[in-house]
């Protein structure tokens, strides 16, 4: 980084940081102290910058995000009493130090911080961008390390196991990286390899995150946050077992046929373990490269339809929420099929959750206000709508109406409509700003599912007959049952 070579970099960075912080903070002496603290922490030299993809506060952008994050945290208890506030600041200082030591989650946490700090002025494009960048990344492995994993998992070197194996990874994964290889039988495969001991890192990071958020326990529903963090941990740790992912993958393959034009890659069990997952290689590209080809509306609509069919097929047929609709998980294949490759973060709804989820949808479809309010209260962890502040009920209900818009509309629905997407963001912002975040852990994943999917289709500027599709999928699932 060039900035670091200058003499007065410290001051320079401070200024940039202050500049970047939300308005008003540059003149506030407390913010000055905060900015200094952040500069100090982020300047802490970690002598390993060459492998610092996520492990150090490397780039200025990361520093700024950390600053935002700190600012946001601070604003959460800004109206607390002074004494309380000082105590919180001390917490915050300690928390930020911890933040500087976090490994695996820092990238994602900073993205959230950036988003939250920008909240009032977030634009749809930025929202979509941050959402798609919002995932974890393991440190890169050199080939010698990959070989050790293979010896442990298969007792053989990659070149012995495969006819050919690329030394260089072609993609990063959340817990490791992906290499291309060829089986002795000739098939091309993608081999996903987990960074050793990553589960341990995740646990440590989440422990740190809990500490980092500790100051918030003064002002928001702390138990609720803890429950959600526990759920995040459970899902992340579930992802560390590629055997589970393979099992999901196999089930998913069964619900699609050739006519669906949806490809779920075949898992090669012989070459897969808990730490290594070998799947059929799908030729194609991700959304950005697809958009770079300047596709016509027809193509955009085509893939929007496939994405909708794919996700709602999984929802209705298997009661799954593909809770990680990250753009990296979809492949635009040259032959027009949509490839779905990642089932690591799939939430299977319990029977109770499934019934509940559909009751809420049905109440909205039937315009049954009483029923809808009851469902909302439950999702927000209240016994009765009457226990909720009227404004909270209203804001959350608006959010649900937004979710339901495509379900209600006959004919084609345009997910590329900026005003529509913006309404959704505005609602999230309002709910967050007002602190209406208490909810069942499950809603974390359903929101991620919804927003991830819609951000994707927004980026795609795609349209589809959503209502027709969901009805078809619901009917298809019902027919299967009888």
């Amino acid at each position: 980084m060039q900035v670091e070579d200058g003499r007065d970099t410290e001051t320079l960075q401070m200024e940039m940081l202050l500049d970047a912080l939300p308005k008003g903070s540059a003149t506030d002496p407390a913010s000055l102290a905060l900015a200094r603290l952040i500069t100090n922490i982020s300047n802490k030299k970690v002598p390993v910058s060459s492998f610092s993809r996520i492990w150090t506060l490397g780039s200025l952008q990361a520093r700024v995000s950390a600053g935002y994050f700190a600012y946001w945290l601070r604003s959460r208890f800004s109206d607390a009493e002074n004494k309380q506030r000082l105590k919180s600041e001390a917490h915050l200082a300690a928390a930020l130090k911890l933040f500087g030591t976090m490994g695996y989650m820092r990238g994602a946490v900073m993205k959230v911080g950036q988003l939250l700090a920008n909240l009032p002025e977030v634009v749809p494009e930025e929202f979509a961008e941050v959402l798609s960048a919002l995932h974890f990344e393991a440190p890169p492995m050199h080939f010698a390390m990959v070989r050790e994993v293979f010896l442990d998992e298969f007792g053989r070197e990659p070149e012995e196991l495969f006819a050919s194996f690329d030394r260089q990874a072609f993609a990063a994964a959340s817990l490791g990286q992906v290499h291309r290889a060829r089986l002795h039988s000739g098939e091309e495969v993608a081999v996903k390899i987990q960074y050793p001991g990553i589960a341990h890192t995740i646990k440590a990071d989440l422990r740190n995150l809990r500490l980092l958020l500790q100051p918030l326990c003064l002002t928001i529903d702390w138990q609720d946050t803890l429950a959600k963090l526990a759920d995040i941990e459970r899902m992340l740790l579930m992802e560390t077992d590629y055997g589970q992912e393979a099992a999901y993958n196999r089930k998913a393959r069964l619900v699609f046929n050739d006519a669906d034009r949806i490809a779920v890659p075949l898992v090669h069990d012989q070459y897969s373990t808990r730490r290594v997952l070998t799947t059929e290689y799908l030729h194609g590209c991700h959304i950005n490269d697809f958009l770079a080809t300047d596709p016509g509306q027809g193509e955009r609509d085509h893939f929007t339809r496939l994405l909708t069919v794919a996700t709602y097929r999984l929802y209705y047929r298997l009661h799954w929420l593909p809770a990680d609709p990250h753009p990296g998980n979809f492949i635009f294949m040259a032959d027009g099929r949509l490839g779905m490759i990642d089932f690591g973060c799939t939430l299977t709804l319990s029977d109770e959750e499934w019934v509940f989820s559909n009751e809420a949808i049905q109440a909205a479809l039937d315009k049954d206000l009483q029923g809808l309010n009851r469902a909302i209260a439950r999702a927000c962890r209240f016994d009765d709508p009457g226990d909720m502040e009227p404004d909270r009920l209203e804001v959350i209900r608006q959010g649900f109406y937004w979710f339901m818009e495509p379900w209600q509309q006959e004919g084609i629905f345009d997910f590329g409509d900026r005003a529509f997407f913006l309404r959704g963001i505005d609602n999230v912002i309002e709910a967050t700003r007002k602190g209406y975040t208490r909810s069942l852990p499950m809603t974390l994943w359903s929101n991620r599912f919804t927003f991830g999917g819609r951000a994707f289709c927004y980026k795609l500027k795609g349209r589809c007959e959503f209502r027709k599709i969901f009805k078809q999928e619901a009917a298809g699932a019902a027919a299967k049952l009888t």
Partner: protein, 207 residues
């Protein structure tokens, strides 16, 4: 009574096998040379003709494992590795050979490889250390790091390596995967230190 060279070799390897078994089941501290001699069907005095102490016995195993590890490393090395990668390959190959000895290795290594000066140097331990460091030095030289003040770089390397060994011999994670991450970090850090910032990018630094 004179015994043939072949019988000697057989005795020696039988002693090593039995000792490994006994160390593994009883731990190093609680095993006695008597137990080992008994198990190998030899008189205690005869055993001392082969190995003057329990420590020498254990360090002979370590040193033989490390020799095999070095052979594995040479065989596996493609010549295309970056410095950090090659060091990783070297260290990991050695640990893989040490794996069968892992259950009793902690106290052995603590005694014999300690960097602190002591009166009775265990010759096997000292040889193992020197050979290991010589290999590291030749790896460094091949990657063009001959300028570094050797004793500084080597002392730093050795303390990292001992740290890795200590952690690894006590690592409860499956396949000691936590140690693998530790080796990765330690080596990258070492390379960074001896090369100044940014000289070794690490080939996987894909961004």
């Amino acid at each position: 009574m004179r015994i043939s060279e072949q019988a000697k070799q057989e005795n020696r390897s039988r002693i090593l096998d039995k000792a490994a078994e006994i160390f593994n089941s009883k731990g190093f501290e609680d095993s006695t040379t008597r137990d080992i001699a008994l198990a190998a069907g030899l008189a205690a005095g005869t055993l001392f003709n082969y190995f003057p102490s329990k420590e020498t016995l254990a360090m002979t195993m370590v040193s033989e494992a490390l020799v095999q590890g070095r052979e594995d490393y040479l065989r596996r090395c493609t010549g295309r590795e970056e410095l950090a990668e090659e060091l990783f390959l070297f260290v990991a190959s050695g640990l893989r050979r040490l794996r069968p000895l892992r259950p009793f290795l902690g106290p052995v290594l603590e005694r014999s490889l300690s960097p602190f000066p002591r009166k009775n140097v265990c010759q096997e331990g000292e040889t193992a250390r020197q050979e290991h460091l010589a290999a590291v030095q030749s790896i460094l030289a091949r990657h063009g790091f001959t300028e570094a003040p050797d004793y500084v770089a080597m002392t730093m390397y050795w303390s990292l390596y001992l740290g890795i060994l200590a952690f690894w011999s006590n690592d409860t994670s499956p396949n000691q995967e936590a140690s693998q991450a530790l080796i990765d970090y330690s080596i990258r850090m070492f390379v960074q230190l001896i090369s100044g910032s940014g000289a070794d990018k690490g080939e996987a630094d894909a961004s």
